[in-house]
């Protein structure tokens, strides 16, 4: 049996903090509290082990090791004290998957309508996988896909199905 198009793994150590604020006014405070610079639109800034992702003109997502979440929430909340802002631990409502291997992009091409081939190395793309919302960024020789916790089984089923051995998209 041929090999699957990519290795699909469930990532269990990703913490996530949702940040909403006026990025023009609060950007410096947020960057200082996160220890990561503010990303440009549709991009992310990675500074191991953290990533700061652009989600919308007034929303960021800080991705970091789970153990660092409580402290980071406190730091961000303190940094944004007195400003109109929202800082929430959303780690538990998300699930994340690693899609690794030379044909990882083909797995996502079967599920996501976004043009991921054109996504730069520091890109962060909000799109959908079949019937559910997701976010995608590049990591290693593949991608990380984040979605909602309640549909973890659905996402895993989609990813494994799309990665099925012998289903590469290369012309035949």
């Amino acid at each position: 049996m041929a090999e699957a198009l990519a290795r699909i793994t469930k990532l269990t150590d990703l913490g996530m903090i949702q940040i909403r604020a006026d990025l023009a006014a609060a950007g410096d405070a947020i960057a200082a509290a996160c220890g990561v610079a503010i990303p440009a639109a549709t991009a992310m800034v990675a500074k191991a082990p953290r990533r700061l992702c652009w989600m919308s003109p007034d929303e960021l997502l800080l991705v970091l090791p789970l153990a660092e979440v409580p402290e980071a929430v406190v730091a961000l909340t303190a940094a944004l004290e007195g400003q109109h802002a929202l800082v929430l631990d959303v780690s538990d409502m998300r699930s994340a998957f690693g899609i690794e291997g030379a044909k990882a992009e083909q797995v996502l091409m079967k599920l996501c309508p976004a043009d991921l081939a054109k996504m730069p190395a520091d890109g962060m793309r909000r799109t959908r996988a079949a019937q559910v919302a997701c976010g995608v960024w590049r990591q290693g020789d593949g991608f990380v896909l984040i979605g909602f916790r309640s549909v973890s089984d659905y996402l895993l089923g989609l990813l494994n199905g799309a990665a099925q051995a012998g289903t590469q998209l290369d012309p035949r």
Partner: protein
């Protein structure tokens, strides 16, 4: 090697490999083809010309074409779950062991009772089924319909689930070239040289289109282009991929066959490509048209191009004595190909007065009779061609000569394949000289920038020979021939087929015109011309030319019917793709889903969530389980998985003001640490959701919505914030899935939670409608003292990852208290016992809070909230609106849900007047009696009055109007 049939030529056949013999079955008989054959070529090689029967008259039919346009040779393919009706024999690759069956035959292909329709044609004229509707009325029901249903209709629908899988894939590319013939490959090369990303789609397994068959050195030209393209990194060449439709914004759908050739490959059978194309090159070629002469549907009458395809591509002789009939030079290629293969070409019948081009001359030079100004008057033979009757084309069909032949190769000219061009609005223009509709390049389908998004090339653009690339010599012009001979008798027209699949003849279209049909679209539907599975690929132009002649108007004035996707039928499986079985829909699961499953939960779908409806124990019915759960909660303690409850954080300096607009009640005045029940209406005043809001801090609230309301209410909030109150400083976040929530309910709820430690839950420390942050069983939690059952109740929210842990600890600690998990139905029963409304039961999109006696939840102090002004409109403020009451059945029967209460008198339609309806109805295990709620005219003022609810076939139900609160009217139980 003649194992593969008496009509297999000893040499030739560029697509086949004689070394590999493939046995297969057709209509239960063993046949043998070779690798590379289509089913059609394999059957022809075996001398099996007849492959099916026509739709209406059950006429014997053989293949007309050699490709996707085939209207006749449609087979039922495969068995069981893999059975597929209406598969084209001409495009289906032969596989070893394949099982194929003819269709529309009764009892068999060779003996068909339905063929009596053949002499019944005068009773089945155009529009016959509309006519049979009219008179006598009884004839339709008892005579026409049963007969027509029995004898008409093509392949049968499969009856088993398809065992194959399908997938989809998205692609984004600068340029898509549809068609891998010489024009497409040339265009791809030119674009690729400019650095564009290019994808070429070819519906066949082989490249080159007609060029290798039709032009000297054609194969070499194609090979040269392919090797150039294969060396370019920005070019993708995809075979077996049929472009089905072009849509707005360059959205192109294409179906790639992956495992059609091998069902056991273990991969998806087909893949649907969803391509965003910057630009599309339409290089889809052209289709040859039949000629309309009497008997043009007899098996053995085949398009000239198909005859040479069968010879050149598959090494198969469609006949051994061939007559070519044509109005153009191109068909002479068929004569040359046949001669080269050693077959007899007994004559070329050319309708044109002269045939002096290079191709006719080279045929004459081979000693073949060329009869100009001639036509076919008829065919001898019914299941096969025996002889051809020759007449003058200019006459009425007087037979001048009879020529023995077993195959007629006909060509009425060519029609560019303009489907993709037309799908998205590209316009056509009629070419008088070529007698064809061409893409009008001045009116292309336009993209988002208003510029053309498609370009036709090659034969699809009317350049049939693509001489720029093939080097083909110029040909003499064709002569349009729509009816042959020109002045054919009415009787002959009854035998001239236009649409072979739907049995539409020249006589039918002329009859439609005579009966007053002028629009080509109406005529299409009246006669069914072009409405079969082939969508009239070979019939449309001939049909509208005949219609134009009958209406005495030029062809462009008649115009074409609309070209709609898909180009050829698409298997529904490709559209569903992965969305079947477990992945049919995204099932949403709570953190405790697995526990519920392990404990035998019977599921209720709520949106995409699955919630336990009840947990039946062995041998227990669902209603028994619900009753047990209700009594266990009211008598001790139970747990409900409330994780699906919507949770939306609303934060900001304007959050209080915002929530005062969202809710009918006042939320800005809610103290921190407290909860308040609220109603949400839309701008029309109708109640759309309800729930409890908790104030988390000075500027932060947590809004609870119904399970189904979370996404909807979050969107409602964002709609108002983004579109109306964009300058208000409010952030919202839907954190529904961040929290697992457990309702711990019943008189023992406090005892149980106190065992898990971490907080004082006394009524003084945490009063009703208060909330507190705490650590329960070592898990950080928020505890809300709210009740939807009337019992002492705490809703405990913990981070989702620890939800199962909390649930399990509750059940371990509560075992001796008889702790019972309960489902949504027990929750519904308990809320109904308390007279609490349920969104979706008491509300249906037409109900306002005032109807439900919820005026107390509407603030009188506020100047505005969403829905306020609507609720002040006269019909909303009317005292005649039906209002919420309880209903007590008087005979012990449970009222059926949704039944109406009748009032005196009848309305204008002679129906009984109505005065109310049941909105919720249950048997209360607590009270051991049926209970119900309903909306009743002047209901609250009519306590004690009786209502009648008639139900067909039963004694009317009767119920007394009562207070909707059936249980614990004082509300003392909420304190435990």
């Amino acid at each position: 090697m003649s194992d593969s049939g008496p009509f297999r030529l000893s040499k030739g056949g560029r697509l086949i490999d004689r070394a590999y013999q493939l046995p297969f079955r057709f209509d239960g008989r063993e046949f043998r083809g070779v690798q590379g054959d289509t089913i059609a070529s394999a059957l022809l090689a075996c001398g099996q010309m007849m492959m099916g029967r026509s739709f209406k008259y059950h006429r014997p039919r053989g293949p007309l074409a050699s490709g996707a346009e085939e209207p006749n040779a449609l087979l039922g393919l495969g068995e069981g779950g893999r059975f597929e009706p209406n598969q084209r024999a001409t495009t289906t690759r032969l596989l070893e062991g394949m099982v194929a069956n003819s269709q529309n035959c009764w009892p068999s292909l060779s003996v068909d009772i339905g063929v009596m329709n053949n002499w019944m044609y005068r009773f089945l004229p155009a529009g016959f089924y509309y006519k049979t509707f009219i008179h006598p009325r009884a004839a339709w029901k008892h005579l026409f319909e049963p007969i027509i249903r029995r004898s008409a209709g093509l392949g049968k629908a499969p009856t088993e689930a398809d065992p194959d899988t399908y997938e989809q894939a998205y692609s984004h590319v600068d340029l898509v070239v549809v068609g891998g013939g010489i024009a497409g490959l040339t265009a791809a090369r030119d674009a690729a040289r400019d650095g564009k990303s290019v994808t070429v789609l070819e519906q066949n397994p082989h490249w080159g289109g007609r060029t290798p068959t039709d032009h000297a050195d054609g194969q070499a030209l194609i090979e040269a282009l392919l090797s150039e393209l294969r060396a370019l990194p920005n070019v993708t060449l995809r075979r077996n991929t049929m472009a089905t439709g072009l849509y707005d914004h360059g959205y192109l759908l294409a179906r790639e066959a992956l495992a059609d050739h091998d069902p056991d490959a273990g991969i998806p059978r087909q893949r649907l490509w969803r391509i965003r194309a910057g630009h599309v090159i339409v290089a889809s070629g052209a289709l040859e048209r039949p000629l309309s002469f009497a008997g043009n549907d007899v098996p053995g009458v085949i398009l000239a191009s198909a005859v040479r395809d069968f010879i050149a591509d598959y090494g198969v002789a469609p006949g051994k004595r061939i007559v070519v009939v044509t109005n153009n030079d191109d068909a002479y290629r068929t004569a040359l190909t046949a001669l080269d293969a050693g077959l007899d070409v007994v004559a070329v019948i050319d309708a044109r007065p002269n045939a002096t081009g290079a191709l006719p001359e080279s045929v004459r030079a081979r000693g073949v009779r060329v009869l100009t100004a001639s036509a076919i008057a008829g065919i001898n033979g019914s299941t096969s061609v025996e002889a051809v009757k020759i007449c003058s084309h200019a006459g009425e069909g007087k037979v001048l000569e009879i020529i023995e032949a077993d195959c007629v190769a006909m060509s009425g000219g060519w029609s560019p394949v303009v489907h993709l061009w037309s799908h998205c609005g590209g316009k056509l223009i009629w070419s008088e000289t070529q007698a064809m509709f061409l893409p009008d390049i001045s009116r292309p389908p336009t993209g988002a920038d208003g510029m053309g998004m498609a370009t036709p090339v090659g034969a699809a653009a009317g350049d049939l020979a693509v001489s720029g690339a093939t080097g083909a010599a110029p040909e003499q012009p064709l002569m349009p021939v729509w009816v042959m001979p020109m002045h054919a008798s009415r009787k002959m027209k009854f035998k001239m087929w236009l649409d072979f699949q739907n049995d539409v003849k020249v006589s039918d279209v002329e009859l439609a015109a005579q009966e007053g049909y002028q629009s080509v679209e109406h005529t299409k539907r009246y006669t069914t011309l072009g409405m079969a599975t082939d969508q009239g690929k070979v019939s449309n132009i001939n049909g509208l030319a005949v219609l134009s002649a009958a209406l005495k108007q030029p062809i462009p004035q008649t115009g074409t019917t609309t070209f709609r996707p898909p180009y050829t039928p698409l298997t529904l499986g490709t559209i569903a793709a992965e969305a079947r079985g477990d992945l049919f829909q995204p099932l949403r699961k709570t953190p405790m889903h697995g526990w519920h499953e392990a404990h035998g939960a019977h599921w209720e779908p709520v949106g995409h969530w699955r919630r336990p409806y009840c947990y039946p124990q062995s041998g227990e019915s669902h209603s028994d389980a619900v009753a047990r759960e209700v009594l266990a909660v009211r008598g001790g303690v139970g747990t409900l998985d409330a994780s699906t409850l919507g949770k939306i954080v609303v934060k900001g300096p304007d959050a209080g003001r915002f929530l005062d607009m969202i809710y009918t009640g006042m939320m800005s005045s809610l103290p921190v640490g407290k909860c308040r029940y609220g109603l949400i209406c839309n701008e029309n005043g109708f109640l759309i959701d309800d729930g409890v809001a908790a104030r988390l801090s000075d500027d932060t609230w947590l809004v609870h919505t119904t399970t189904g309301g979370a996404d909807r209410i979050h969107a409602h909030m964002e709609d108002w914030l983004q579109c109306e109150w964009w300058d208000w400083k409010v952030y919202t976040a839907n954190v529904t899935e961040q929290w697992a929530q457990v309702a711990v309910v019943g008189p023992q709820a406090r005892t149980l939670l106190e065992r898990l430690g971490g907080i004082d839950l006394s009524a003084e420390a945490l009063p009703f409608m208060g909330w507190a942050e705490a650590t329960i069983a070592g898990i950080p939690a928020r505890i809300y003292r709210i009740s939807f059952s009337g019992e002492l109740s705490f809703e405990v929210a913990v981070p989702a990852k620890r939800g199962l842990e909390l649930w399990q600890k509750l059940h371990e600690s509560g075992a001796d208290l008889g702790i019972t998990p309960y489902g949504t139905e027990a929750m519904h029963v308990m809320r109904a016992e308390k007279g609490f409304i349920m969104i979706g039961d008491e509300t249906d999109g037409t109900v306002i809070p005032q109807d439900l006696g919820l005026g107390w939840a509407i603030s009188k102090k506020k100047s505005d909230y969403i829905g306020k002004r609507a609720q002040e409109r006269s019909f909303m403020a009317s005292t005649e609106r039906w209002k919420l009451v309880g209903l007590e059945s008087t005979d012990g029967r449970m009222l059926p849900d949704g039944v109406y209460a009748v009032a005196e008198g009848e309305n204008a339609n002679g129906q009984r007047n109505l005065q109310g309806r049941v909105t919720s109805t249950y048997v209360s295990p607590t009270l051991n009696q049926p209970i119900a709620m309903g909306l009743v005219l002047h209901g609250p003022d009519r306590m004690g009055e009786m209502l009648e609810f008639p139900v067909q076939g039963q004694v009317s139900y009767r119920a007394r109007i009562v207070d909707p609160v059936f249980y614990d009217k004082e509300g003392s139980r909420t304190n435990g």
